[in-house]
């Protein structure tokens, strides 16, 4: 553990960076700025400590609460949303619910497993994760291995179940990115070339994603990478220039395929072509609009009866809005906001405790899930063009849930390692 930290400190140009030095010091001694309640364990008079208390000493109840609530609510909504389509496809209205339940159970196991892996190990294997991700993304493009659904080659099938490499790739790539940034923070901050080198990974992965095509995953990944660079302290000027490049690249894509832009922009007025390009969004908006304050009631959705496509996955949010109303929408938005802010906080505390990789990983995962949730909800409400993005932790889908679960496991691990450091410092 100590070795890991010293490695991290050694890799980071801490001697030239006062902050880095402060981190290095805080690793050795407890930081007085850390609130006592967050780090100092409660001592009970007779020394008896319940098991649950020992658990919560290492874990963040808010994070777990948010994740558990989102997962549970998601499972309920998947059960409700999938009845019609499951009945139609499998003859059992709960078929998709049971599948998602298995995804959730496996996801929980992955979450625990990942939470048990030392961050140092994760950081060390992150290049391997990147390579595996890219191989999978490349495999999916090979006809015969990749399985095409609705015009996108996103699946690799093994008999009855399949995986979506892009879901795992998002996590794998950003873990490598976090590891890279934690090792070369200074280089990225101080030179254009450093910044460019950091981007190379992204530039390698994006074409693979765009080839599927999976614009949603690309957008989320690029946005997450920018957020991490922003937090890595890249000078504002360079950051703006890089953003300028990004916008220029998007403009190029738009110029190359104007018809695509037109299709993408149809979200601004879906009712102009309610049975063509605006079909999905019109149905999603109708679902939301039908809900009102408290919704039409759990299980009472009409839109899920084949009107709203992907009601159990991409458009789960609309379906939930129809059944449970404005109240549920606010609750879900607040939960994702809490998740995002919590992971930012976990990242900051980790950074202060010298867990640099942990900090970037926490930010990355927070941004990934937060941005994807924000885009998905924005798509559902007609604020953004329609993309094939799931609502993290909630939507139906094994790959999506497993990837998110692994991310949450890393978040938990970061927080745990930080608290262990603090406790060691305190004792």
């Amino acid at each position: 553990m100590i070795e890991t930290i010293s490695t991290a400190v050694g890799c980071s140009p801490s001697k030239r960076n006062p902050q880095g030095v402060a981190f290095a010091r805080s690793a050795a001694a407890p930081d007085p700025a850390i609130p006592a309640s967050a780090s100092i364990p409660l001592e009970i008079g007779n020394g008896f400590k319940p098991r649950s208390e020992a658990f919560w000493r290492h874990h963040d109840p808010l994070l777990w609460g948010v994740v558990a609530t989102l997962t549970a609510l998601g499972l309920v909504m998947v059960a409700s949303a999938s009845t019609a389509i499951a009945q139609d496809h499998y003859g059992d209205p709960l078929a998709l619910f049971w599948r998602q339940s298995i995804h959730v159970l496996v996801g929980l196991a992955v979450m625990i497993l990942v939470a048990c892996l030392p961050l140092a190990k994760i950081s060390r294997v992150s290049p391997l994760l990147l390579v595996v991700s890219m191989i999978l993304l490349a495999l999916v493009l090979i006809p015969g291995i990749g399985h095409e659904v609705k015009g996108s080659a996103r699946w690799i099938r093994f008999g009855t179940f399949g995986i979506q490499p892009s879901e795992f790739a998002k996590v794998g790539v950003l873990l490598y990115f976090a590891s890279y940034l934690s090792r070369r923070t200074l280089e990225v901050r101080s030179s254009y070339f450093g910044l460019f080198k950091a981007f190379i990974v992204i530039l390698l992965v994006c074409p693979l994603l765009l080839a599927e095509p999976d614009y949603g995953a690309t957008a989320v990944l690029v946005a997450t990478a920018f957020g991490m660079l922003f937090l890595a302290g890249v000078p504002m000027m360079r950051f703006v220039i890089a953003t300028g490049f990004l916008i220029a690249a998007m403009g190029m894509l738009a110029l190359l395929a104007p018809y695509r832009v037109q299709r993408i922009m149809s979200f601004t007025d879906p009712f102009a072509d309610p049975f063509g390009s605006g079909f999905q969004l019109v149905q999603a908006l109708i679902a939301i609009g039908r809900g009102g304050f408290f919704g039409v009631g759990l299980g009472e959705s009409v839109q899920k009866l084949f009107y709203l496509p992907e009601a159990h996955s991409d458009f789960l949010f609309s379906m939930m809005a129809e059944e449970l109303g404005l109240v549920s929408m606010v609750v879900v938005v607040v939960l994702y906001t809490l998740f995002m802010l919590r992971s930012l906080a976990i990242g900051y505390r980790a950074q202060r405790s010298g867990l640099v990789f942990g900090a970037y990983a926490a930010w990355g995962i927070g941004l990934l899930i937060g941005i994807q949730a924000g885009i998905n909800i924005g798509v559902n409400m007609g604020l953004l063009p329609t993309k094939g993005l799931t609502l993290p932790l909630m939507s139906y889908g094994g790959s999506s849930f497993l990837a998110c679960a692994a991310g949450v496991g890393i978040l938990a691990r970061v927080e745990r390692e930080r608290r262990m450091l603090c406790m060691r410092g305190a004792s």
């Binding site: 009107y307 929408m329 604020l383």
Partner: protein, 592 residues
């Protein structure tokens, strides 16, 4: 910035937090906008997609005869239809050929539909398929092939009651006969309700009823299935035997005006859709007009009796068997010499009838025909009923007056003739005809003195006695009466050598109940007299009908002096138990 990284980091951290909160706020704001401000609009858009008006089908009412036996019933069948847009253009040939074979369609039919009508979503492949066959087709589970439940009409009596019952088209709309006349009542009104449909068109939930379904009512007709069958059989035999072009027979209840049977030849099978050429479809008894000829003579006599100038025993000299009026020569078949008025009827003397007619004021003769319901509506409401013509007396010359008095120069339907004969049996009252079963005896206007009606009945009875023109009309055990008619047909403005044989009469004469009229059009086996061709049909129909109705014989049995001459009330009770104490007021004198 790089100089004060911690302050910069703090700012970045806050920037991100604020960004996150701003995004969350934006999303919530949009959510509020959608669910509160645009709630009504979006709900309306949703309703426009989910809510559909569904039809609640109703079953067409049955047609029953007066004893509750079915004349038309509805049974469920399936129709096979295909949605060309669901058909795979590459063709799922094995399933298609199997279905084509089952429906005995030519090979490639489905393929052609898929090719030519690809823009449609609904094409019938075959309507009204037997449920068992439909199930086999359904079991094949061929994509794009669907079933639709429909009702099909069955007519158990087939061609025997085809003209009176009529038929419906494939969509169960009345096309002919009673099916057409009472189409609204029979079909009822399908209900409408608002339902939520899923996108595959399946009903998910009933929202509200727009208007309830009114099921079609069952109608009990005045027709008696047994009499109808007998009439059909007798007429068919006569038409065949005499190689006639056509024929009709009508059986009425003289008191209530109920039509007990209407049959025509040629007929058709209403259960078969192919069998429908126009000359078969015509309900000739109601839609076809003919000159009634000698069957009018009783009315001429009745008018003469009513004028008071003659009595039943007044003698008229018909020698030498012909007479010249205004350039026409009127002939009897032979010289009958001096006949009394009864004799004119019995022998059917044209000269006698002409002399009686001429003795009347034109207006009196005209009233004597017009008020009997000849060439006017019978009140039956049957679709396509013809009225006929009776020229107004102001246009008459002497010749017209003469010809009218023995039945030429006017045109009537067989139904009108049977109704007019009912007057004699009904004590001078003219009943409105009806095709629905009636409880009791509805009020009818008086058009003839009861005494005169009775006198005519006595004369009609003479016609079927030896020495009369229609001995063949006799029915064993019953007293009957009637009048023959043999009419030369008028074609292209002149009378040609083809004939119409007629017989109209009443039974039983002790208390008349049935009025029966028979017409055989163009008998072509050399025999054409009404008494030879039409009277036997009358006899058969009446004999069977009286037996069905359990009317006791009224001919005094020579073996036992105590004859069971049924009283009128007794016969009525046998016919319709409800007649005693009917709600109708007795207005026998109302029209006088």
């Amino acid at each position: 910035m790089s100089g004060h990284p911690s302050s910069g980091f703090g700012a970045r951290r806050w920037f991100l937090i604020l960004m996150t909160l701003a995004c969350a706020g934006g999303l919530i704001g949009r959510a509020v906008d959608l669910q509160v401000n645009r709630h009504e609009f979006l709900k309306g858009e949703g309703n426009a997609r989910h809510l559909r008006v569904a039809t609640i089908p109703v079953r067409r009412g049955m047609l029953l005869d007066r004893n509750g036996e079915p004349l038309a019933a509805t049974a469920p069948v399936q129709s096979v239809w295909i949605n060309p847009q669901e058909l795979d253009e590459r063709g799922e040939t094995p399933g298609w050929t199997a279905i084509e074979k089952m429906l005995s369609l030519s090979k490639g039919t489905i393929h052609d539909i898929a090719l030519e009508r690809g823009d449609r979503q609904f094409v019938y492949l075959r309507r009204h398929v037997e449920p068992s066959l439909a199930q086999e087709i359904d079991a094949l589970g061929v994509l794009g092939v669907h079933l639709q439940r429909e009702d099909r009409r069955y007519y158990p009596m087939g061609e025997a009651a085809a003209h009176v019952v009529g038929f419906t088209d494939i969509d169960n709309r009345g096309q002919e006969g009673i099916e057409l006349a009472f189409d609204k009542v029979l079909s009822g009104e399908s209900g409408k309700k608002r339902v939520i449909r899923d996108r595959l068109g399946r009903n998910v939930e009933d929202v509200e009823s727009i208007h309830p379904a009114w099921p079609g009512r069952d109608l009990t007709l005045s027709i008696d299935r047994r009499i109808q069958a007998v009439a059909h059989r007798s007429l068919l035999e006569a038409v065949r035997r005499h190689d006639a072009k056509a024929g009709s027979a009508v059986v009425l209840n003289v008191h209530s005006g109920e039509v007990l049977a209407v049959v025509n030849q040629p007929s058709y099978n209403p259960n078969k859709r192919g069998d429908r050429s126009n000359h078969k479809l015509r309900n000739r008894a109601i839609t076809d007009l003919f000159e009634p000829g000698s069957t009018v003579k009783p009315f001429t006599v009745a008018a003469a009796l009513a004028s008071g100038s003659v009595q039943p025993d007044t003698e008229v000299n018909t020698s030498p068997g012909f007479m010249r009026v205004g350039g026409y020569v009127i002939r009897d078949i032979r010289d009958f010499g001096v006949l009394d008025v009864t004799g004119i009827i019995r022998k059917s003397s044209n000269v006698g009838a002409a002399k009686l007619g001429l003795s009347l004021a034109p207006r009196d003769l005209w009233r004597g025909l017009d008020r009997m319901g000849l060439a006017t509506s019978t009140g039956s409401g049957f679709p396509g009923e013809a009225y006929g013509t009776l020229p107004d007396f102001s246009t008459w010359g002497e010749a017209r007056q003469v010809t009218l008095s023995y039945g030429y120069g006017l045109s009537v339907t067989l139904l009108q003739l049977a109704r007019a004969y009912a007057i004699f049996g009904n004590g001078g009252l003219l009943p409105d005809l009806r095709f629905l079963k009636t409880q009791g005896v509805p009020p009818a206007p008086r058009v003839m003195d009861a005494a005169i009606a009775d006198a005519i009945c006595r004369m009609l009875e003479e016609v079927v006695q030896p020495g009369g023109t229609a001995v063949l009309a006799q029915v064993e055990g019953y007293r009957i009466g009637g009048k023959t008619g043999t009419i030369r047909k008028l074609e292209d403005g002149g009378y040609v050598d083809s004939h119409v044989a007629l017989f109209a009469g009443l039974a039983p004469m002790s208390a008349p109940l049935l009025s029966v009229a028979v017409v055989i059009d163009e008998p072509s086996d050399g025999i054409y007299y009404g008494g030879r061709v039409a009277a036997p049909v009358f006899s058969e129909i009446v004999a069977e009908s009286l037996r069905f109705l359990k009317i006791p014989p009224d001919v005094p049995d020579p073996a036992s002096p105590k004859s069971p001459s049924g009283t009128m009330a007794g016969i009525e009770a046998a016919f319709d138990p409800l007649v005693v104490g009917s709600g109708y007021p007795n207005n026998e004198n109302a029209s006088r």
